[in-house]
Symmetry: D2
Subunit: 393 residues, 4 copies
């Protein structure tokens, strides 16, 4: 641990890490893929109850993933109180409720921005259903990713779409109970290619500011143009008090939805460093969620690995010697300031996290412990018949 | 037409345009979409015969699209001689045969590069089927897009995959009859995100050089990193005699597969300018194919528009005053040389193409003529029942 | 002109084009280059008076470039009223005043964001000098491009830099007279590489909103990440009433500062289409400025060509059949709506602009007229001795 | 060090690390900057002798940087045998000789590709001078980065430029003595923006193949389009036996020339992993060179930090458990294979490198040791007067 692990700093890091939570997406436990192919996997969950069982496995071994985001309609059940109770029995809770604006045949040309008011009304009404699920499950976060956009220049009026969007969002916002939040996500391309209607953080923020205090921005780490400095956006949104949540994942070029930290662990560390620097890790209203697709790797181990990656990046950020950093920055010592960050990054924090887990009664290595547990083999054996969950269901 | 339309140049342009052909992809007439949603459309073809009927409509109105690429297995029929005859009856021919290496459950970790020899053998054997289709339809081009790659660093050995690929390609190449060509396509990302096994023209060319003279490179205009100068690659592949074909389409960021020329018509013109400058428009072994997805727009009009866009870019390239261009280049007059290109690009070539069409007995405006024909309404009315074609079938 | 040139639409287009103005940057008439080399050119201006003479040549032949932006300190003169009078004598006026925050040795680690208050004070005070120049020349636009940023993660505190920036900008803003504007430019990379302090329109807008109504955003067309839809940003900034100005130029990958419209004329057209659609071409407070570097081509012809390119894009945007466009958009006819734009783009507007110029008593072809004028040869002959202007002076 | 440091693996790693060498660029010890500003620094070297003294400091503390690349004409001296002896006295040797094709006034439109044969001849002849320097200094590597390109479409004939380039390179190649190598670098943009004449590895390789066995490719890690998988290119060039050298540096977006490993240490590790996997670290003809600009940080510490970063990435690559990796790859265990890499990357190798240094009689922390040495203060004090070295001299 070199010299970063002064007893105080280690102790504070351990304390913060003990409280840190990461929210899992139910859809990570279903099948996913590209437009070319969705590969099935043995043992994949077939319904929301099984997805929650799988998510609970991740929490069981990591101790850091106590909530599961749901997606409507993929996770619709007859009785949400039963689903919430099922989750509670397994030691997890329902997290954010995600609406779906991309799978209805009516949404070919948009949902909340569609030229036709009837289609917009349908998309708005869908959120009433989501808010009902929130009330039934105790969820407080309504997450809205707007997949709307256009493929061809001129296809629709860019400004009219913004005006329609503002109006639609206002109606959705009005549905919220006090204490509920609207989390508004941006994405710079896909599934439309010429112009997405919320392509960047600036657009998302403008809409949130117009809506009110219950509206905040979701930053999906895979939704930016190449060369974008993501931690700068984290800082800026924290500065204006509107960073509501992360959708964590990794990307090389597209919205690849790979395991967070797998493509550029130093970037993830820099992001967590902004969080820690702004004291926004705990109690600041930032929901740290995963949004990933395990197209070719097994789902539960993929999620475990993701949680570990976020924990490791966080631990490194917590170990930064902030006094040394600030002093180097103040004196204009470029290399020393940079070095204060990279020293923390170079530190192997796996022993520290092993210690944390053991102090909680967990196995030091959640990935290996799950592998040894036989759970994967059991679900592959038992979950026969039915239809594996995927984006379609 | 300003001053570019000197009688001689116009006459030569008209003569070349009269001979130019563009090959249509059968799959453009089926449904397509993103990983988020495939939107169906009324009247979409339900089988290869109907796809060819639709493609023949494009040729009927443009007079420039006399061939249709097929995809195996999407276009499998019991009797390919019957399908070829059907095409001939409608005035079109079967073009390139495309293999499919991305939809088999065994291909999760690769096809021609898979670690398991049994999977590679299966993928190789699939091309024997494709060559049989070529013999049955008279096709001479076997187009192979390798979708193989990896999502995570370390997932597989990058070099071992190249070696396996070289071996697999050698076996496929050995299946070709004299006069047949292997067209090898590259793509820099998707459906795998960490490393594609043929990510760039350099890799494709190396494999082609190793295979022999019957192997050439396919340049898909949507398969490059941002900032890549595509016409440079066109020039380079022509220079080494290995540009076998284009897959034309447009993109803004990803592999968007939009209508060619819709996103950056000046780029398309620059590409066609390299073709014309190298005298490779006719008789040079370059197959000008479309590879597009009309996710939200109607298929047949989308293809007609695409053909018109290629024709317009070609017409502009043919109108470049090459003597003035060469003189300006030789004298180092940067703006005059650039202006020689942009003068041609600024020219409205629609009247010239209208004249060409009328001289062939076609309507001056193929798009409008098709719209007036009632064909779209007829197929929407008649093609009831069955399953619309898509990438799945 | 096909069918877009209905008499009414042509007449309205001509009327608008007759009023359109484009502002020229004084530095375009000095030498420029890359970090690798600045190539000199014969006849280049040696002082601000000669730069204005050259700019006046552009206006003389195009009739559309009646203002010149100055840069402080590059364009410092002893008596600005004399420079303004010189400009007036030549038929042009002084436009925006650009401050310089990148060439002082003290600015290695920033200017308005520098950790050291003394450096920030110096950078702030520089703007008082700029405002004095504004008063002396009648300029109303203070343009501030912030070159500040960091090269290494951790080098400085990203958030502290924003807070310092807000404070510095407030002090600059307080210097403005009523009727003056602060134009705040963003840039996503260069001259610093890890994090620019105003990297995107969102950050620029946040600062403008904090400052007040006299602060607006400058959109430089070369300052975005790949894949960014620039016309979307134009629309969004117009929607919130904060688009103050353009810095027009072209780029392929970096901030290339090439001739506007030379790399992607369709993009320039789409941008102007948003301007026309929002009725922001005239009287809406948008200053259409060039910001270019003619590294290898002659300066005055380069600027003339740039003005023509903007005029051509504008003319095409004015010729869009907006009724047809709106109808197609309302009915969801993707291809017809797209076609309404591309029909205008495909139109050869050079005859229309020739007509406009002749109606103003100008030569139909400003580029050729300037070439014939002998001015280039005259300045190459006469401007002997002294030091050619460049970014350094 | 967790469990990767099995005694055998650690021992082999230490042995390899003890032999690893990194070549330093003389220009890293002069001033550099962007087109906007070159900031001077106290104590910067004023001539090639001082640059070599500074480079020798880097070697003195790291023990891993025994060679210095020279640049002609920046490092021209009257007597190169004297310079070589000076280097030898300080414990270092002269490495690659870099030609300069971008700073002559004649090269505005190109050097080896220029339309004018006289200019090409001049550029070719410059390499005879470089070869003379090689003979005088014992250098065996002639490094040629071609800065040629065009800014505007049509400016010159892309293919003619390739043909001229092939001819020019053939003449340069003919100058080489047996045992000398031509290292040919590619770069995808800058200092020209429309088309670079050697934009990618494919083009560089084609020219090398045409030249002969003494020609190999230089891979500069900052010279690729976004999303390019650099380690794939490393693998491919090794596979065809043509990877001659690296120019190591870091970039976020442009050719930033930052400290190697500072922007994406995981990428640097992946690159070194391909090197180690191919057994190309030692004795394989790959010259590991730095090519960096320390625009705002001190030069010698910047170079020390760079050497340490390459060593750390190499150490991690050497610690990869290749048996476990190969087994996981063979069995298709995506996460285990990925984990075999990331386990090595997560390891803190600083203790191992400290051990290596101490075994060589070096300080465990070269960066701190140099800082304590007082050298920086001494050169700042003593190097008064004269002109600091930069790209201009």
């Amino acid at each position: 641990m070199t010299d970063l692990g002064t007893p105080d700093r280690r102790a504070r890091a351990l304390a913060a890490l003990a409280e840190q939570t990461i929210e899992l997406p139910s859809w990570a436990f279903g099948n996913s893929g590209t437009r070319f192919k969705v590969f099935g996997q043995p043992g994949v969950a077939r319904d929301p109850f099984e997805k929650i069982e799988d998510a609970a496995q991740v929490h069981r071994y990591t101790g850091a993933a106590p909530r599961v985001s749901l997606h409507v309609p993929w996770d619709l059940v007859d009785d949400f109180s039963k689903l919430a109770a099922h989750a509670a029995d397994l030691g997890v809770a329902i997290g954010a409720i995600n609406s779906n604006l991309f799978q209805d045949d009516d949404y070919r040309l948009g949902s909340l921005t569609h030229p036709d008011e009837a289609v917009r009304d349908k998309a708005i009404a869908h959120h009433a259903q989501c808010v009902d699920v929130m009330r039934a499950t105790g969820s407080t976060d309504l997450k809205l990713w707007l997949p709307d956009g256009t493929n061809y220049a001129g296809q629709d009026d860019l400004r009219a779409r913004q005006d329609r969007l503002a109006d639609s969002l206002q109606q959705v916002y009005a549905m919220l109970d006090p204490g509920m939040r609207l989390l508004l996500e941006y994405k710079f391309y896909e599934p439309y290619f010429y112009a997405m209607d919320i392509p960047d953080w600036g657009t998302s923020l403008l809409h949130c500011l117009a809506l009110g205090d219950q509206a905040t921005v979701v930053l999906d780490t895979g939704h930016h143009a190449p060369g974008t400095n993501i931690e700068f956006i984290v800082m800026q949104l924290l500065r204006v008090g509107r960073l509501g949540a992360f959708d964590f994942n990794s990307r090389y070029y597209g919205d690849d939805d790979l395991i967070v930290g797998s493509a550029d662990p130093f970037q993830l560390f820099r992001i967590m460093n902004e969080i820690v620097a702004a004291d926004a890790l705990l109690g600041a209203g930032v929901n740290f969620m995963l949004d990933q697709c395990h197209n070719i790797e097994p789902k539960i181990p993929g999620q475990i690995r993701s949680v570990l990656n976020v924990q490791e990046a966080t631990a490194k950020a917590l170990l930064v010697d902030r006094e040394a950093l600030a002093a180097a920055q103040a004196s204009g010592d470029v290399l020393a300031a940079h070095g204060a960050l990279t020293d923390a990054f170079a530190t192997d924090v796996r022993p520290l996290l092993a210690e944390l887990r053991e102090s909680k009664g967990l196995d030091a290595d959640p990935y290996a412990a799950y592998a040894r547990s036989g759970h994967a083999e059991r679900i592959a054996r038992e979950r026969i018949g039915g239809t594996q969950a995927s984006w379609g269901a």
